[in-house]
């Protein structure tokens, strides 16, 4: 094993390729677990059982679903802008893989050590918006277009307070590298202990919900209004890719929060990688819990909430953080 790893390490290009393959497959595999948990939690909250048939406790249900989607016909609607229609799901997926690239799972377990990782993540995750707009616009379907436009309006508004709340952490730790931020927390205690970061974490949580289109903010794919939103016309593998990207993004946004606010891999007794996953899945559970509780907001309520409340509060919070914790 060691010899194999050493062999790849001797050839940096090969080593990069290995990391890319591992990350891409991880990004494809993680949604299977997250979707399974989502369906179980949804079932339990509604006094159902969730999937139980395929495999022990239905664990292979999502695998079976993914296989089914891969085998299905790939339909392109008449009048669709084919180039954009084809390429949109890949952009969505690639944007998530790119974000995973700079995410440290454990000490040394990071595909690309980047000193501006936070900035990189924020930049790359905006590709998701592009892909949603492309999908909505190219589908030649009014529901898709409405979903896409709503997605852009919503994601762009919530990106602002999200970035401002992430900035609070950067101000506190004096680093933009995710590894640096986590190592700071290992030494000085978790960031969430500081009041401004606490506020920032709450704002981040709300924005994250909006960012991954989950229920109080799931306007881009509001089933009761827009059929399925921007991915209405997608079928088969492309739909699966959108779905995978969404749930991988769900995983990533919680992992990012764990790194920023909850000390990443930091924790007693258990190995670091386990701590990362524990924190991530607890937060994913909270996301699901929220998803099955409040009803959907209206588009004007959502935008008003973002611009009139979250942006000023996060700006004030940033000032507060600078005043308190500048180093």
């Amino acid at each position: 094993m060691e010899a194999i790893v050493q062999f790849f390490r001797d050839y940096p290009l090969l080593w990069t390729l290995v990391k890319a393959v591992v990350l891409a497959n991880f990004t494809l595999a993680i949604p299977l677990a997250v979707i399974y948990i989502e369906r179980k939690v949804a079932g339990f909250i509604q006094s159902r059982l969730g999937p139980v048939h395929v495999g022990p406790q239905g664990t292979f249900q999502t695998v079976a679903d993914a296989l089914k989607l891969l085998l299905k016909e790939d339909i392109v609607p008449a009048g669709a802008d084919k180039r954009f229609f084809y390429i949109a799901p890949y952009i969505a997926f690639v944007s998530v893989v790119l974000s995973f690239m700079v995410l440290p799972f454990a000490p040394g377990w990071v595909a690309l050590e980047m000193n501006v990782a936070v900035l990189f993540v924020i930049g790359v995750s905006l590709f998701n918006v592009v892909s949603i707009l492309m999908a909505g616009w190219s589908s030649n379907n009014k529901y898709s277009l409405l979903g896409g436009l709503r997605a852009v309006a919503q994601l762009l508004s919530y990106e602002v307070p999200m970035v401002l709340s992430v900035l609070v952490v950067v101000v506190y730790t004096g680093s933009m590298s995710l590894t640096g931020i986590i190592e700071y927390q290992v030494q000085h205690g978790w960031n969430i202990m500081h009041p401004p970061v606490m506020i920032a974490a709450i704002i981040y949580f709300v924005c994250a919900l909006a960012e991954i289109n989950r229920t109080p903010f799931d306007l881009p794919e509001a089933e009761s209004e827009l059929v399925s939103g921007f991915n209405t016309e997608y079928s088969g593998m492309r739909f699966a890719l959108f779905f995978a990207a969404e749930f991988a993004n769900n995983f990533f946004i919680t992992a990012f929060a764990a790194a920023l606010f909850f000390g990443g891999w930091d924790g007693p007794i258990l190995p670091p990688i386990v701590w990362t996953f524990v924190k991530v899945f607890v937060m994913i559970f909270v996301f699901m819990w929220v998803r099955w509780t409040p009803p959907r907001l209206r588009i004007d309520q959502i935008l008003r909430f973002a611009w009139q409340f979250l942006v000023p509060v996060s700006l004030a919070n940033l000032l507060f953080a600078v005043a308190l914790g500048v180093r």
Binding site: F44, R48, L49, W289, T293, P294
Partner: protein
């Protein structure tokens, strides 16, 4: 006379809005959290089933009379006449009080499960039972013969015919020898 006025609209205050939102969200999340741990209502149907209610209208059965050793049915066709969709057809054997059926066919593809045949029967012969999975991929699987319907199956049908024949023979023997039937349809000159 008082004029009802709409309640004064308070000015939109984002902070009040936010706090109210948090409180209602918290209340809702308590509800869903409790629901998470409540017993599940799902019945995993093919593996487990609900008990069938006692008066459930499922598959018909012809009642077996253990005392007499035969089916209760005497082939009077009252059920067939009561049926709005002509589900029932039968072959009668014998006549009079001891008559019975040798064949009793129900085409459940037409059946409404309306219970009229059961209500029409004066002999307690036909009932609706608790069996319910009657769907099939073939049309002729909807036709239920006497062996499918009788309580006790093939064996009961065979015994039923035997008993009815025996009863008929006994009746014949008990009659005075003089009373021979005239040939049917002919006038006795």
């Amino acid at each position: 006379m008082t004029i009802h006025q709409a309640p004064k609209r308070t000015k939109y205050n984002p902070f009040v809005y936010f706090v109210e939102g948090l409180v209602t969200l918290f209340n809702g999340m308590v509800v869903t959290w409790r629901n998470l741990w409540r017993p599940k209502v799902t019945v995993r149907y093919p593996y487990e089933r609900r008990p069938v209610p006692p008066r459930y209208r499922g598959l018909f059965y012809l009642k077996w009379n253990e005392e007499k050793g035969r089916l209760n049915c005497v082939g009077c066709t009252l059920c067939a006449q009561a049926c709005p969709t002509n589900v029932i057809s039968m072959v009668k054997i014998g006549k009079g009080q001891n008559a019975g059926v040798s064949e009793f066919t129900m085409d459940l593809g037409r059946c409404l499960f309306c219970n009229l045949c059961v209500e029409a029967c004066p002999f307690d012969a036909i009932y609706m039972g608790p069996a319910y999975e009657l769907a099939s991929e073939r049309r002729d699987a909807c036709v239920f013969r006497i062996a499918d319907l009788a309580q006790g199956g093939e064996e009961a049908v065979r015994k039923n015919i035997e008993t009815v024949m025996r009863l008929m023979a006994e009746e014949e023997q008990a009659k005075p020898a003089a009373a021979v039937h005239a040939p049917r349809g002919g006038h006795a000159e």
